[in-house]
């Protein structure tokens, strides 16, 4: 499943990135979005996009276009 399909407050683990080029994946790794990292969707901003997520030890606002490209598995 992809991260946009996951319910709020449910922690999941990143397993892969799809439709993102390798350079962008490497860039995202610098912001904590890496394979194996635990992610929890917390709250959608008022216009439903982006979504606030707990990624490792930090809070990130992730665009829905990105959520659709992150494959995750349940913990």
């Amino acid at each position: 499943m992809t991260l946009d399909q996951v319910a709020l407050e449910m922690p999941v683990r990143i397993v892969n990135f799809t439709s993102i080029d390798a350079t962008e994946v490497a860039r995202l790794s610098g912001m904590g979005l890496r394979t194996g990292t635990t992610v929890t969707k917390l709250i959608a901003t008022p216009l439903q996009d982006p979504v606030e997520c707990l990624v490792g030890p930090q809070l990130l606002a992730l665009d829905r276009r990105l959520l659709r490209r992150i494959q995750v598995e349940a913990l």
Partner: protein, 611 residues
């Protein structure tokens, strides 16, 4: 020096003397990875490579956040692997301790192979150790050994980043012990706050209230101080005029230099108040969240949430608005914000709109039972926003367009702003304005005074009221002659030489249009009471007895003022913020052509409709 992304949006250079040695400290824009994407990130890597190439003594001081070392260490590790001499400052160590995080400095230093200092910029902890790092003389970088980010392939950069992430993970595993909690206390607190501030209903209401407060502060808090400064300097000018012998020198001082100082000084309260509030919002951690909330709505226009503050500030004055665009990290997006912010209806346009609306929109006009003049005024605000959005759409087809800068926005934990940091932040921005743009504004004010004062009118002014004498002087001045010279250019818009001169003089500040027109009509200084000038405009006749001005001309004039970049202070600040005359020239020319074209179209259409 490199710190976390989003703080510095340009290279800043300073000097510091440590143990008798003078050192140059360069603060570079932050970056999250070794793969520069935006222009500000490229600036950092370009600078490092150029220093290495020039063989300069260089120490890269990487500033990492103690509570987020698992992400922040990769940059330091990567730069070390790239051949630079790197030292690591683990900042906000006090906050990390409160979070229950323990950092083993020696183990971290051994693992990364670089000196490490645990510090807190807020409490000054570790500052001496940072100074000691600076005085250690690093060997000159060998250009043949340093990785050149400018010429590296994407594959090489990716490999470097992946290796750096692995090195950072290893270092964290050895040197950083995390608490046994799932979520850090500062993050847990921020999550609770976000449930309110990002709530679907409460979130936008709180954002609207915060922006209303900011807007009010710019108008309600700044304006009394601005008026006080303006009136104080005007009174000083009058006092000096009474004491000095009449002549060119007295006029230079009282009509040129002092108003020039006034033109600079009046912006200081607005800039100080705006940046106090922006600084507080930024330091509290709310600003990235506010940007995230409006981001989706602005995306179809090629804009993102970060233009929100410049645009909002632009309603008070374009100058602080343009300066606040510094919070935008992407160079191209910052440029787009700078180019579009002057289209917001600033307070200087209000006297112009008030005069024209009062003179040409009948009080009896009541569409849908509403006050017609109020509707037109509101329409001008909407018109400015629409023009900015339409131009933003148009800019999507130019090389200024940059795809959405990032699909990720870092939301820092909420923190209480510290007055001392805030004061330093505001002082730096006010000084920046005074030392750079202020000089240009002052010089241009003097130039416009000279154009309005010379050559001296030959016609005797004896027996004339001071206001009438002023009108005679302006008519015979270089500015008056220029107004007559350009009259044919603006004739299609229905302007005569008087309006042309007033528009030319309004380059100093838009509201000067009212005063100049008032002087030309020998009505005196009309900025406070426009009724005399309103009647003069309504009753003015051409030589053939037909009205000199009509609704089409008035509508065209308002459209012209809504779009044209009629403000040298704004031009000066755009020059300063873009680092040259190219962009202000393009902006001025583009907006002028657009203003002229739409104004002409409005005049033609309304004339055809018999308005």
């Amino acid at each position: 020096m490199a710190n976390f992304a989003g703080c510095t949006v340009e290279k800043a250079v300073g000097a510091v003397t440590v143990a008798g040695a003078e050192l140059e400290v360069v603060d570079l824009p932050g970056t999250h990875s070794l793969l520069p994407a935006t222009e500000d990130e490229k600036v950092s890597f370009r600078f490092l490579c150029e220093c290495a190439e020039a063989g300069e003594d260089l120490l890269v001081l990487c500033v990492a956040e103690a509570s987020n070392l698992s992400n922040d260490l990769a940059l330091a590790a990567g730069l070390k692997a790239a051949g630079f001499r790197v030292a690591l400052v683990v900042n906000m160590i006090d906050e990390a301790r409160l979070n229950g995080i323990r950092v083993d400095k020696e183990a971290l230093s051994d693992e990364l192979g670089m000196p490490v200092v645990l510090a807190s910029a807020r409490t000054a902890e570790g500052l001496d150790a940072v100074c000691a790092l600076l005085t250690s003389r690093p060997p000159r970088a060998d250009p043949s050994e340093v990785f050149d980010f400018r010429r590296a392939s994407r594959r090489e950069l990716r490999d470097l980043q992946e290796d750096a992430v692995r090195a950072a993970d290893r270092a964290c595993a050895v040197a950083v012990s995390l608490p046994h909690r799932v979520v850090l206390p500062t993050i847990s607190r921020s999550m609770r706050i976000d449930r309110v501030l990002l709530h679907p209903v409460a979130g936008p209401l709180i954002l609207a209230a915060a922006m209303f407060l900011l807007f009010q502060a710019l108008f309600a808090w700044a304006h009394p101080i601005m008026d006080l400064l303006s009136e104080g300097l005007a009174a000083l000018g009058e006092a000096l005029r009474a004491r000095l012998p009449a002549g060119a020198w007295s006029s230079l001082l009282c009509d040129g230099a002092l108003p020039g100082v006034s033109a600079v000084a009046v912006f200081v309260p607005q800039i100080a108040i705006l940046f106090t509030l922006i600084g507080a919002l930024e330091q509290s951690g709310y600003l990235p969240r506010a940007g995230a909330m409006v981001d989706r709505a602005l995306r179809p226009f090629g804009l993102d949430g970060k233009v929100f503050i410049p645009f909002l500030s632009g309603f008070a004055c374009a100058i602080p608005g343009i300066m606040s665009a510094r919070t935008i990290a992407s160079e191209r997006r910052r440029l787009v914000a700078i180019l579009l912010t002057p289209l917001m209806t600033c307070s200087a346009r209000l006297p112009v709109y008030t005069l024209i609306i009062t003179a040409f929109v009948p009080a009896s006009l009541r569409p849908w039972g509403l006050d017609g003049r109020g509707v037109v005024m509101t329409g001008m605000y909407v018109f400015g926003v629409l023009m900015a959005l339409l131009l933003a759409l148009a800019l999507k087809w130019t090389r200024l367009y940059e795809a959405h800068p990032s699909l990720v926005t870092i939301l820092p934990p909420y923190r209480v702003p510290r007055p001392r940091e805030l004061l330093r932040y505001v002082r730096a921005r006010v000084w920046h304005f005074l030392s750079r743009a202020g000089q240009i504004i002052f010089m241009v004010s003097i130039l416009l005074w000279a154009l309005a004062s010379f050559p001296r009118a030959q016609r005797t002014q004896e027996g004339l009221a001071p206001e009438a004498a002023a009108a005679v002087r302006i008519q015979g001045s270089a500015l008056g002659m220029a107004g007559r010279a350009i009259e044919p250019v603006f004739k299609p818009l229905g302007w005569d030489w008087r309006v042309s001169v007033a528009v030319l003089s309004s380059l100093v500040a838009r509201e000067v249009f009212v005063g100049t027109l008032g002087t030309i009509y020998a009505m005196g200084h009309e900025t406070r009471s426009t009724q005399g000038l309103v009647r003069a405009l309504q009753e003015a006749k051409k030589e053939d007895g037909t009205p000199r001005y009509g609704v089409p001309m008035a509508a065209g004039l308002m459209i012209f003022f809504a779009i044209a970049l009629q403000c040298v202070s704004t031009i000066a600040i755009v020059r300063r913020e873009t680092g040259g005359w190219k962009w202000p020239a393009i902006q001025f020319a583009t907006l002028f052509v657009l203003a002229y074209g739409l104004s002409y179209a409005a005049v033609r259409v309304l004339t055809a409709l018999g308005a």
